[in-house]
C-alpha cells in the first residue's frame, strides 16, 4: 500500500497539519526527515497514521479504546488512554490517512474522538472513538469494526505486522532483539507455523515419560519384592529350626512307636486268648450237640438194619429173578426167527403191486372200447364231409352258366339302351333340324344308317315307346340274371365252407382215434400185455390168483406176531422184578457200609472228644443213612478242625507270650500306655505342623525371589528401552513441545539473522548476528574471530540500534507475505550512532528505495541528518512545514 497523505487535527502538540507524500521532494527522495525540536510532535505523525488505520498507537502501548470513561475532567484519565493523545482543552481530535490500497484504489481512513458537549464547552465526557473508512472513488463508507476489518484486508497487515514492518517506533524495535525466547518464538511462529515440530516434541516426551513410568513401576515392583525376600541369616535360622524339629519328631515317633508296639502286644494277647476261648466254647456247645444227634441216628440205623431182610435173603431173590428172565428170552428168540422167515413186508409189497397192475389193465380195456366208438364216429364224419364236398363242387360247376346268362342279359340291355338313346337323340330339337335336312337315300349323320324315309315328329315318339318298353324288359331280365348269378355264387361259397368244416371235423376225429390207439398200444406194452382184450383179461385173472396166495401168508404172519408180543410182555415183568431185587440189595449193602463208616467216624470223634463218649444215644425218628453219613463226616471234619484251631491258637498264645517286650511289666496298665502314645502322637503332629509352616515359608521365599529376579530382568529391559528414548527426549522432547519447536524456529531465526547480516554488514562490518542451533538468543559475533562479542541484550545503544534496524529490515522481508507499505518509518535512535555508523546507516537506507521500492521516513532531531537529508518535514509550534 502507498501512504499518500496524512491529516492531523488536534493530536498532541499539533493543531492542524497535512503531510502530502505525493508531491515535491517528499515524493521523489528516498529519504525523508521529520525534524523538529523535542516535543514538537514528530512522533505524532506516526501516531496519526496508526490511529487512522487501526485505532491504536505504539506509544500508548497499543491499548484499545476502553469501554467508556466516566470522567468529569481530564485529570482522571489514565496515562495510557488514547484520550490523552487529544490535545488539551479541545473537544475533538482527528487523524486521517489517505492511502492507496493493494487493490489500486484510494481510501481514506479516519480516527476521531469528541466530547459530548458541543464545541466550545470543553468539559463534556469523551465519547468512544470513531473509526471510519471511505472509498474515495465511490464515497462508500464503513465504520467501526467493519472499517477496521476492511483496513486489514486492504493493507494486507494487521496492527502488529504493520508495526513490525512499517513503524520502527521509538524504543520499540529493539523489543525483538531484547525480548524473551517465548515472545520471539510466538513472533516467529506468526511467520511460519511450527505445530508439527511441537507435536513431534510432545510425542517424544510422552513416549519417554511413558517408558519412564513403566520402568519406575517395574522398579517399584522389584523393590517391593526385594523387601519381601528373606535375608540369609533368617533362612539359616529357619533351616536350623527345621532340623531341630525333625530330630524331635524322630525321637517322639520312636517313642510312640515303641509304645504302640507294646500296646499292640497286649491287645493281641487278649485277642488270642479270646479267640481260643471262643473256639473252645463252640466246640463244646454246638459240635457236641451235633454229635449227640448223629449218635442217636446211628442207633436207629442199627435198629433198622437189624429189622430188615438180610443180605443173603435178598441175594437169593435176585438170583431167581434173573433165571426167569433168561428163560423167557429164549422163547422170544424162537418166535422171532419164525416171524422173520415170513417176510411180511415183502409180501405186502407184492400185494400192492398187483393191485396196481390190475387197475391199469382195466383201464386198457375200457380204452379199447372207447376207441371202437370213436372210430365209428370218425367214419360217419368222413362220409358227411364227402357229401358236402360233392354238393359244393356241384354248385361251383353251375356258376359259369349263370355268369354267362348274366352277361348276356347285360349285353342285351346295353344294346337296347344304345338304340333307345339314339332314337331319343333323333327326336330332339337339334336333331329335328338335322332331320329336317335329311334327304332320303343319304346317310344319317347320327346313326349312320341310310335314310330310307323321312319320319314325322309323331312317329318318332311313338316309335320310342315300345323301345323303351323293351329296354325295361331287358333291364328286368338283366337284373334277374344278375341276381341269380349272385345267389349261385353265394350258394357255392356256402357249400364250399361247409365242406371244409366237415372235412376238418372228420380229420379231427380221425386223428383222435389214432392218438388213442397209439396211447393204448404204449400202455399195453408197458404192462407187458398185448393190446387185445383177451390178453388183458387173462392177465387180470393171473393177478387175482397171486393176490389170494399172498393174503393167506399175511394172515399167518399176523398170528405169530401176537404170540410174540405176549411173551415179550411177560419178559418185561420179570425183568422189573429182577431190577427191584437188585436195588434192594444194593441199598442194603450201602446201609451196611454206612453203618460201619459211621461207627468208625463216631469212634474217631470220641477219640478226639472222649467226654462225649458217654452219651447214650436215643432212638431217632427216621434215619436217612446218607444224610447221616454226610452229617457224621462233616461233624468229624468240624471237630478235628475245631480242635486243630484251638491247638493252633494255644500255640500262638505261647509264642506271643514268648515274644513279650521288655518294657511290659505285669502291672502295666494299657490305658496309661495308650494315653502316653496319644500324647506323643499329638506332639508329633504339632511339630509337623510347625515344620510344614517353616518349609512353606522357605518355599514362598523361593517364589518371591524368583519373581523378584524376573522383575529385575524386566527392569533391565525397561531401562534399556527407556534409554532408547533418553537421548531423543533430552534433545528434543518437551511436555509443551517447545524444544523441537524452538529448534525449528531457530532455523528461521538463523535465516532472518542471515538476512539481517546483509544489512548489518553495511552498517558495521565487524559483526554479524548469529544464534546457537536450537536457541532463540541472538548473539553478536566477530566476523573474523568468531568469538561471541555480546548477547543481544548486552549491546550498546548504537549497536542495538543498528542491529535492530537490520533485524527490522530483515523481518519485513521474512515470510511469504511480502506485502508491505511503501514507506518505512523510523522514529529516533540515530542519536546513539557515531558519525561513521550514522553515515553507513543513512547510505543503506537511501538504497532501500532502489532495491525494495521502499522510501524511508526518519524522525530525528540530529543536525547531521538535517544536513544530509534534503526532503524534510519540520514540525514546530504545532505547525508542519515540508520542503527543503
Amino acid at each position: 500500500m502507498k501512504i499518500l497523505k496524512v491529516d492531523i487535527h488536534n493530536l498532541a502538540s499539533i493543531t492542524d497539519a497535512t503531510i502530502d507524500f505525493t508531491t515535491g521532494r517528499l515524493a521523489e527522495d528516498p529519504l525523508v526527515l521529520i525534524s523538529g525540536p523535542t516535543g514538537a510532535g514528530k512522533t505524532t505523525v506516526l501516531d496519526a497514521i496508526c490511529l487512522a488505520l487501526y485505532g491504536r498507537t505504539p506509544r500508548l502501548s497499543g491499548e484499545r479504546w476502553p469501554e467508556r470513561i466516566d470522567l468529569d475532567n481530564d485529570n482522571n484519565i489514565a496515562i495510557t488512554s488514547l484520550v490523552s493523545i487529544a490535545r488539551r482543552t479541545t473537544c475533538e481530535a482527528r487523524a486521517t490517512l489517505t492511502f492507496e490500497a493493494n487493490d489500486g484504489e484510494r481510501y481514506e481512513a479516519q480516527w476521531s474522538i469528541r466530547r459530548t458537549r458541543p464545541r466550545g464547552a470543553s468539559s463534556g465526557k469523551w465519547q468512544r472513538a470513531a473509526q471510519s473508512l471511505i472509498r474515495v472513488a465511490t464515497g462508500e463508507e464503513l465504520a467501526g469494526d467493519d472499517a477496521r476489518a476492511r483496513v486489514i484486508g486492504l493493507v494486507g497487515m494487521d496492527y502488529d505486522q504493520f508495526i513490525r514492518t512499517t513503524m520502527l517506533a521509538q524504543g520499540e524495535f529493539t523489543s525483538f532483539l531484547k525480548c524473551k525466547a517465548d515472545e520471539k518464538a510466538s513472533m516467529l511462529e506468526r511467520i511460519i507455523g511450527a505445530e508439527r515440530f511441537a507435536a513431534a516434541s510432545v510425542a517424544i516426551f510422552n513416549i519417554y515419560k511413558t517408558a519412564e513410568q513403566q520402568r519406575d513401576n517395574i522398579k517399584l515392583e522389584w523393590k517391593t519384592l526385594d523387601e519381601q525376600c528373606l535375608k540369609e541369616d533368617k533362612i539359616t535360622e529357619i533351616n536350623a529350626l527345621i532340623a531341630e524339629g525333625t530330630a524331635k519328631i524322630a525321637a517322639l515317633t520312636a517313642r510312640y512307636e515303641s509304645l504302640d508296639a507294646v500296646i499292640k502286644w497286649i491287645d493281641d494277647k487278649a485277642a488270642i486268648k479270646r479267640e481260643s476261648d471262643e473256639l473252645t466254647a463252640r466246640l463244646d456247645v454246638a459240635l457236641q450237640e451235633r454229635y449227640r444227634r448223629c449218635a442217636d441216628e446211628k442207633a436207629r440205623l442199627d435198629a433198622e438194619l437189624a429189622a430188615g431182610d438180610t443180605e443173603a435173603a435178598l441175594s437169593g431173590k435176585l438170583r431167581a429173578a434173573t433165571e426167569a428172565v433168561a428163560r423167557y428170552r429164549e422163547v422170544i428168540n424162537e418166535l422171532n426167527v419164525k416171524f422173520t422167515a415170513l417176510d411180511l413186508t415183502g409180501r405186502q409189497r407184492r400185494r400192492r403191486d398187483n393191485d396196481r397192475r390190475r387197475n391199469a389193465l382195466n383201464i386198457l380195456l375200457t380204452t379199447i372200447a372207447t376207441i371202437g366208438v370213436k372210430r365209428q364216429h370218425a367214419a360217419e364224419l368222413a362220409a358227411r364231409a364227402a357229401d358236402a364236398r360233392t354238393a359244393a363242387d356241384a354248385a361251383t360247376a353251375v356258376l359259369p352258366a349263370s355268369e354267362t346268362a348274366a352277361r348276356q342279359a347285360a349285353e342285351a340291355l346295353r344294346a337296347g339302351q344304345d338304340i333307345l338313346d339314339k332314337q331319343e337323340l333323333s327326336v330332339k330339337q337339334t336333331t329335328r333340324e338335322l332331320r329336317a335336312s335329311l334327304v332320303v337315300g343319304e346317310m344319317c349323320p347320327v346313326c349312320g344308317q341310310t335314310v330310307e324315309r323321312l319320319i314325322g315328329e309323331e312317329q318318332f315318339t311313338s316309335i320310342l315307346a315300345p323301345m323303351r318298353e323293351r329296354v325295361s324288359l331287358l333291364r328286368e331280365a338283366y337284373l334277374k340274371a344278375e341276381a341269380a348269378q349272385r345267389a349261385a355264387i353265394a350258394e357255392a361259397k356256402r357249400l364250399g365252407q361247409e365242406a371244409v368244416k366237415a372235412r376238418a371235423q372228420a380229420d379231427n376225429a380221425g386223428t383222435e382215434v389214432t392218438n388213442l390207439e397209439k396211447k393204448n398200444a404204449n400202455d399195453a406194452a408197458a404192462l407187458r400185455v398185448e393190446a387185445a382184450e383177451a390178453a388183458i383179461t387173462a392177465a387180470i385173472a393171473a393177478v387175482d390168483e397171486e393176490n389170494r396166495e399172498i393174503d393167506a401168508k399175511i394172515e399167518e404172519a399176523g398170528t405169530l406176531q401176537r404170540q410174540l408180543s405176549a411173551q415179550t410182555a411177560k419178559l418185561d415183568e420179570l425183568r422189573n422184578v429182577e431190577r427191584v431185587c437188585a436195588d434192594d440189595l444194593a441199598k442194603l449193602r450201602r446201609r451196611l457200609e454206612i453203618q460201619s463208616i459211621v461207627t468208625q467216624s463216631l469212634a474217631a470223634i470220641v477219640g478226639l472228644m472222649p467226654a462225649w463218649g458217654s452219651h447214650n444215644p436215643m432212638a431217632a425218628v427216621a434215619v436217612d443213612a446218607e444224610r447221616l453219613n454226610a452229617a457224621v463226616r462233616q461233624l468229624q471234619v468240624d471237630v478235628s478242625g475245631a480242635t486243630a484251631a484251638i491247638t493252633a491258637t494255644r500255640r500262638r498264645l505261647e509264642a506271643h507270650l514268648a515274644a513279650k517286650p521288655v518294657e511290659v511289666a505285669d502291672d502295666t496298665e494299657i490305658a496309661v500306655l495308650r494315653e502316653q502314645s496319644a500324647r506323643a502322637k499329638a506332639e508329633v503332629g504339632e511339630l509337623q505342623k510347625e515344620q510344614g509352616a517353616l518349609q512353606q515359608s522357605l518355599k514362598n521365599n523361593d517364589d518371591v525371589r524368583r519373581d523378584r529376579d524376573a522383575a529385575a530382568t524386566r527392569l533391565e529391559r525397561a531401562q534399556s528401552n527407556l534409554e532408547r528414548y533418553a537421548r531423543l527426549n533430552s534433545c528434543f522432547g518437551s511436555s509443551d513441545g517447545k524444544k523441537l519447536k524452538t529448534i525449528a524456529l531457530g532455523f528461521i531465526l538463523g535465516d532472518l539473522l542471515h538476512r539481517a547480516n546483509h544489512y548489518l554488514r553495511q552498517f558495521d562490518d565487524h559483526y554479524e548476528l548469529c544464534n546457537e542451533p536450537g536457541s532463540l538468543t541472538i548473539m553478536l559475533r566477530d566476523r573474523q574471530l568468531g568469538n561471541v562479542q555480546g548477547v543481544s541484550t548486552n549491546l550498546s545503544g548504537g549497536e542495538s540500534f543498528m542491529v535492530s534496524l537490520a533485524l527490522a529490515l530483515a523481518l519485513a522481508q521474512a515470510g511469504n507475505n511480502v506485502i508491505t507499505a511503501d514507506t518505512l518509518f523510523i522514529d529516533e535512535g540515530f542519536g546513539t550512532l557515531s558519525d561513521d555508523a550514522l553515515c553507513n546507516v543513512i547510505d543503506t537506507l537511501e538504497t532501500l528505495r532502489q532495491i525494495g521500492g521502499r522510501r524511508v521516513v526518519l524522525i530525528s532531531h540530529i543536525a547531521a541528518l538535517r544536513d544530509r537529508i534534503t526532503a524534510r518535514i519540520d514540525i514546530s509550534d504545532g505547525k508542519v512545514v515540508t520542503g527543503d
Binding site: I748, Q784, D843
Partner: protein
C-alpha cells in the same frame, strides 16, 4: 580547454580508528604540485570531498588549507567543487560565499550556476549529487543552458557525482549497495562534451562513451581492496572544442601511508604474523593480514597477537609504524558450504519434517547423529502425527 579532474577525496576518513587527515593533507600537497606543473584552465572536484556529513574540525582544516593551496598554486584557475553523496551538501555550501573570494565555486543545491572557464573558453556545469529520480531533469536543463550560453564551439564540461551503468566497481567497499541505475543518456548527461564523474574510486572511462565520460577515481585508496589493484591518480583532460574527443592523461598520486595487504596470498596466521614482522620498520603503512582459515574462525586471540606484533615498531613520536587494521579471511570451500545449513528459510522450513530438523540440529551441535533406532522412532512419531 584543459581541466584537472579529481574527486572522492574522502577527507576526514577514520580508518579503523586511525585518522587519515595527514594523508589527506599530503594528497592535497601533491595536487597543488600537479596544478603548478600542469597549469590547467580549471580544476573540478566531482564530489565526496568529505568522508561523512559531519567532518571533524581537523578534516575541515585540511580541506580549507588544501583548497587554498590549490588556489595559490594557480590563482586564476577556477575551482569547482560539487557535493557528493557522502557530503553534507548544506554544510559544504555554508561558506560558499567566502570561497567565491578564492575562486572556488561550491555547487551543493539543485540549481547551480554554470562556471565559465575564461582561459579555456569553455563552460563547466556543476551538478551536485541528486537522487537518480531528480537527476535527469536537472542535468539536461543545466547542460542545455550552458550550451546556449557557451556558444557553438565552446566545450561544455559537466561535473556530476553518480553511478553509471557499466561501471567497474572492483575493490569498492560495500559493492552490493551501490546500485547502478542510469546510463549516461538516462542521467541527462550526454549533452556535455566531457562528463567529469565522481563516486567510483577506480579511474575508468564510462563504457561506450570513449573518453567523453570518465571517472577519475579517488586520489587515495579508501579501502584495502582499492590499493594494490590499481593506481590512484587524477586526470588531466584536454578538450579542443565542442564535440572534440577529450584527451586524457593521468597523473598518479602516491599515498603517504599505503594500504598493504600482507602477504599477497592467504597463509596461516603464524605465517602472516611473520610477514607482518618482516615489513620494513621505517615505512608507515596500514596492514591487512591475508589469512587462510580452516573452519569458521580465527583463533580468538588473533587480533591481539597481530596488534602486539605490529606495535613492536614505533616511530620517533611513539606512533606505531605498522598500523594493523584487520584480517582478510579466506575460508575453505567445505566450511563455507556447511555454514548455510544452519539456517532454513520459510519456504524450506514449511517443507521440513521434524526428523530433518532434528538431524540438522545434531549435526551443527557436533553431537552424535541419530542412530537407526532413533530415526525409526522419529519416523514412527511423524507418521502417527500425520495420520
Amino acid at each position: 580547454m584543459k581541466i584537472l579532474h579529481t574527486s572522492d577525496w574522502h577527507l576526514g576518513q577514520s580508518f579503523f580508528g586511525y585518522d587519515r587527515c595527514s594523508e589527506g593533507a599530503d594528497m592535497m600537497r601533491q595536487l597543488a604540485v600537479i596544478v603548478a606543473d600542469e597549469r590547467p584552465d580549471a580544476l573540478v572536484v566531482a564530489g565526496d570531498v568529505f568522508h561523512n556529513a559531519m567532518p571533524s574540525n581537523e578534516a575541515s582544516r585540511t580541506y580549507v588549507a588544501g583548497v587554498l593551496a590549490l588556489h595559490e598554486a594557480l590563482p586564476s584557475m577556477p575551482i569547482v567543487i560539487i557535493a557528493g553523496n557522502h557530503d553534507s551538501a548544506a554544510r559544504l555550501a555554508a561558506y560558499g560565499e567566502l570561497w567565491r573570494l578564492a575562486g572556488v565555486t561550491i555547487a551543493a543545491s539543485r540549481r547551480e550556476a554554470m562556471v565559465p572557464v575564461p582561459a579555456g573558453g569553455g563552460m563547466i556545469v556543476p551538478i551536485a549529487y541528486q537522487h537518480p529520480g531528480a537527476l535527469p531533469e536537472v542535468a539536461t536543463a543545466a547542460i542545455a543552458a550552458a550550451r546556449r550560453a557557451a556558444g557553438a564551439c565552446a566545450p561544455v564540461v559537466a561535473v556530476a557525482h553518480q553511478g553509471i551503468v557499466g561501471a567497474d566497481y572492483t575493490g569498492h567497499y560495500r559493492q552490493p549497495f551501490l546500485a547502478d541505475s542510469l546510463s549516461l543518456a538516462e542521467a541527462g548527461l550526454d549533452g556535455a562534451d566531457y562528463v567529469a564523474l565522481g563516486h567510483i574510486h577506480r579511474p575508468q572511462p564510462v563504457a561506450g562513451t570513449g573518453n567523453r565520460a570518465r571517472y577519475c577515481g579517488s586520489p587515495l585508496p579508501v579501502h584495502f581492496d582499492e590499493a594494490g589493484h590499481y593506481t590512484h591518480s587524477v586526470d588531466i583532460v584536454e578538450i579542443a572544442e565542442a564535440g572534440a574527443a577529450p584527451v586524457i592523461h593521468t597523473v598518479p598520486i602516491s599515498p603517504a601511508v599505503p594500504l598493504l595487504t600482507v602477504p599477497d596470498v592467504p597463509v596461516t596466521l603464524d605465517e602472516a604474523l611473520i610477514a607482518l614482522e618482516a615489513l620494513p620498520a621505517d615505512a608507515p603503512c596500514y596492514v591487512r593480514l591475508n589469512v587462510a582459515v580452516k573452519g569458521q574462525w580465527l583463533p580468538g586471540d588473533a587480533k591481539e597477537r597481530a596488534i602486539e606484533v605490529a606495535a613492536r615498531v614505533t616511530d620517533d613520536n611513539g606512533v606505531v609504524v605498522k598500523r594493523f587494521c584487520e584480517f582478510a579471511i579466506t575460508r575453505d570451500e567445505a566450511t563455507r558450504a556447511d555454514a548455510s545449513a544452519v539456517t532454513a528459510d520459510v519456504e524450506e522450513l514449511s517443507r521440513m519434517e521434524p526428523l530433518e530438523a532434528a538431524e540438522r540440529y545434531l549435526r551443527h551441535k557436533g553431537m552424535e547423529p541419530l542412530s537407526d533406532d532413533e530415526r525409526g522412532i522419529f519416523e514412527a512419531i511423524q507418521n502417527t502425527a500425520i495420520n
